[in-house]
Amino acid sequence: MDSLPVSRLGRREREVMQAVWELGRASVQQVSERLSAALAYTTVMTTLDRLFRKGLLRREKQQRAFIYSAALTAEDVAGQQAADLVRRFFAESDAQPEVLLSCLVDAVHGYDTELLDQLESRIRRARAQARTEKERGR
């Protein structure tokens, strides 16, 4: 199902699919009569053939003509279009271990060097003080 390109159906393809869903089983002639715009018989035939190749229609030969029926229901297609949309929405992924880890929150990981120097000197002072207190304790 994933490979069916339902989300990429053109306007004419959607219209033809709609006609097939309404008719159930139909020949090229019947579909072309059902369409709102008058299209050439060959255009409808090509569109039906394209939809068959995409796996959205089934067809069987009766005498010298093909009879088409839908391989998917309208609900299936709508559901898959929604799923495609969601998949595309979440597709942008930086899921590589090389990507820098950081928090969701606004923790900016670019530090002012002066601040880091200040903090380091504070730590040194605290260490010296701790050492002095330890020695006094002895």
Binding site: L100, C103, A107, V108, H109, Y111
Partner: protein, 318 residues
Amino acid sequence: MTLPYTLRLICLLVVVTGVVHAALQGALTANARRVMRMLRGWPARQQERILLCLQMGPPAAALLFAGALCAPQYLRHEANHAAEGVSWACVALACAALIWFAATAASGLRVWLRTVRFTRACRRSATVVGRHAGIPVLAVSESEAVVALAGFRRPAILVSRKLLEGDGLGEEALQVAFEHERAHAQHRDNWKLLALSFVPQLPGSGWMQHWQIAADCVADDDAAQGDVERGLLLAETLVRVARCAGRRGRPVLCTALSSGEAGLRERVERLTGEREELPGTRGATIAAMMVFAAVAIAAAVSASPWVYEVCERILHLG
């Protein structure tokens, strides 16, 4: 606009939830400085809990108000079960609230999926260099210095290879850094981050950052274990990791060792003993929270006779 009974009820509940949530969050944001001043000097654990409650409170209160007060009152008193006109202002408010909630949910979902994929990718391709208190430690080929806890159900500590090799962090420094991440895992901070990412936020609230600093302070305390030497070693490690950290995006949700500048300063000051904490005020906190809850419940109960009227006014705004 004419809406059937059920849609009217849904519209009302969405508007009430959105408005109450926005109002509470707006009030908290307006008083953020005052609240943070009040919390200064409190034990980190209590600060973290209060900041978490302050963020989860507005949506919880809004849902409670809409679900436990408005919905029953409307169901009980609304006699007209047929379609009825609703003002466009109310419909517009409902749409705005729905868009706000949906956008937050989509963004939370997106960051959650990214994190899950990222953690899986790490587990597949990174080298397991050991375990710390049962949590796997994975070495990642990251060009910048990173120590972080990623994942929800089975979290892993990720550490840049460069911190493990050559002139990276020493064994003691690594142990204390891993202990900090273990504390995050123990307190389920990644789950809390995930929950918070689903809470609709007003711009500029900053509560998330305050909470993260408090959660980092709690993890620092757990890692230092009350030992001055360990605390100073952790402070040194924080500065050292910060020196090698770069400025990049934030693609996934995890608790990293190094936080933003304000957080780093605060944490180092705590670890070097420059910031003093008040003795535990757990009793006072619980009492304050109970008083707040009691006032909220009393206000809700006393307002209940007018709730239906308010609901009707909301539906026919303007």
